[in-house]
């Protein structure tokens, strides 16, 4: 039951070439920054990465992109990255764009053992082309497939050694969903505590979904768009 791993390098050691990864985070918020860095050092190639975004040029998944480790991205929005644009336009990188809610539900469904579901999102647009349609009570829906991955890379705020997780503020985003959908789920946390120290009422993701827990080290937590209210009270 003890899932603690000593180092991030050890945590990603078996991520093989051609693996499919489901990676938590929204923009640069709640990304598993140390696991990504370790995976860059590990050098696994031809990866398929399911993640809402693809980082920025020099941070987050952008690091793996710049290192040419990613073959295909499945994302909802990828606008913040010049390397991405270059590799996409040259045909080096394959991209599947998925509406954000459909992406979230596909991962949730995958983790919950549901192979497909119907949604009205995207009906009548490019994303529904070639997919099965069905009418329920007069409204048209499109069939979308659940997603699972060989590995999930997740960032939590606190974890216990059994893999129970607590997330902080909006860094939760895709992380608990990703955790359910990995055949091997690897979690980095800011703080690791002993079982029993987290109240069962407060746990966002039960440890049953988690296979490895590692303390990430010091977090950079880069901010993508720093917006503030000045002390004088105007924006």
């Amino acid at each position: 039951m003890n899932k603690l791993v000593a180092t991030v390098e050890e945590a990603v050691l078996d991520i093989h070439d051609g693996a499919t990864l489901i990676v938590g985070g929204f923009g640069l918020c709640g990304i598993p920054e140390h696991l990504i860095a370790a995976l860059k050092a590990r050098g696994s190639q031809e990866l398929t990465v399911v993640s809402n975004n693809c980082g920025v040029d020099d941070w987050g998944l952008g690091l793996l992109l710049a290192n040419r480790q990613i073959k295909k991205m499945i994302s909802s929005y990828v606008g913040e990255n010049k390397t991405f644009e270059k590799q996409f336009l040259s045909g080096e990188l394959e991209v599947e764009l998925v509406p954000q809610g459909t992406l979230a539900e596909r991962i949730r469904a995958g983790g919950a053992g549901i192979p497909g579901f119907y949604t009205a999102t995207g009906v009548g647009t490019l994303v529904a082309e070639g997919k099965e349609h069905q009418t329920f009570e007069g409204r048209t829906y499109v069939l979308e497939r659940g997603i699972t991955g060989d590995f999930a890379l997740v960032k939590a705020w606190k974890a216990d050694t059994y893999g129970n997780l607590v997330f902080r503020r909006t860094s939760r985003n895709f992380n608990p969903l990703a955790a359910t959908a990995g055949r091997v789920t690897i979690v980095e946390a800011e703080e690791i505590v002993q079982p029993g120290e987290l109240s069962p009422d407060d746990i966002h993701l039960p440890g049953i979904y988690v296979h490895r827990v590692v303390q990430g080290g010091v977090y950079a937590k880069r901010i993508e768009r720093r917006t503030v209210t000045s002390r004088e009270g105007t924006r």
Binding site: C29, S75, G79, L97, L126, F167, S171, R225
Partner: protein, 222 residues
């Protein structure tokens, strides 16, 4: 803010009433938040997992773990809630969001919306826009009436790839407000300073307009 955009925002905020759960899109719609009257209690939803967006944080109090869907640092209001992305879109897809105010590139007379992709240019993705237009109870699109070349963005049919088909309930531009109903597209208000002649000249779409509001099929009031 330009005079056109300011007119749009001023009119758009009137769509928001006390007690509503509202999602504001990125760009111009985000500016609507600042115009919400203090005496209304409104919960703004951010699809990355926050119900109850507050103002930007004070300098020095930014938190990398607390951002909005535009990836800007924000705060959370008293009574806010955090949740994961599946829960967020359960709210949206399940019809629990009262109102979504979104930007637009083109709106067609049948209520089609295009706002995510220009063929031949880098495609960045639709983010949560397709989910919002098919899920929220009411969709209000706000955009400038014409593009930088002076061409109408209010079309007979969208030329750009769609975000959603027949999804727009109301369109607010710097010239007018239009509603989309079974009876087609109807001009229901002129913006201050606009004339019906100017709107006709700058609108490619066909729309109905009742000079005397009492002639409207639903009666006089809007």
């Amino acid at each position: 803010m330009s005079e056109e955009r300011s007119k749009i925002v001023t009119r758009a905020v009137q769509e928001i009433t006390d007690g509503m759960y509202v999602n504001l899109g990125i760009g111009l719609p985000t500016l609507v938040a600042n115009a919400i009257p203090q005496d209304l209690t409104v919960m703004l939803q951010s699809e990355n997992g926050l119900l109850g967006i507050g103002p930007y944080p004070l300098e020095g109090e930014e938190d990398a773990d607390l951002i909005n869907a535009g990836k800007e640092t924000v705060t959370a209001v008293s009574g806010a809630a955090f949740f994961d992305s599946a829960e967020s879109f359960a709210m949206i897809r399940g019809g629990h969001i009262d109102l979504a105010i979104l930007g637009g590139m083109e709106v067609a007379e049948n209520g089609d919306l295009a706002n995510w992709m220009i063929p031949g240019k880098m495609v960045k993705g639709m983010g949560g826009a397709m989910d919002l237009v098919s899920g929220a109870k009411r969709i209000v699109v706000i955009m400038e009436h014409v593009n930088k070349q002076g061409e109408s963005k209010v079309k007979k049919a969208c030329t750009l790839p769609l975000t959603g088909k027949a999804v727009v309930n109301r369109l607010i531009t710097d010239l007018a407000v239009f509603d989309f109903t079974a009876g087609g597209m109807e001009l229901v208000e002129l913006q201050p300073g606009a004339t019906i002649e100017e709107v006709r000249e700058k609108t490619e779409a066909a729309f109905v307009w009742h000079a005397d509001p009492s002639d409207r099929p639903g009666g006089g009031s809007l």
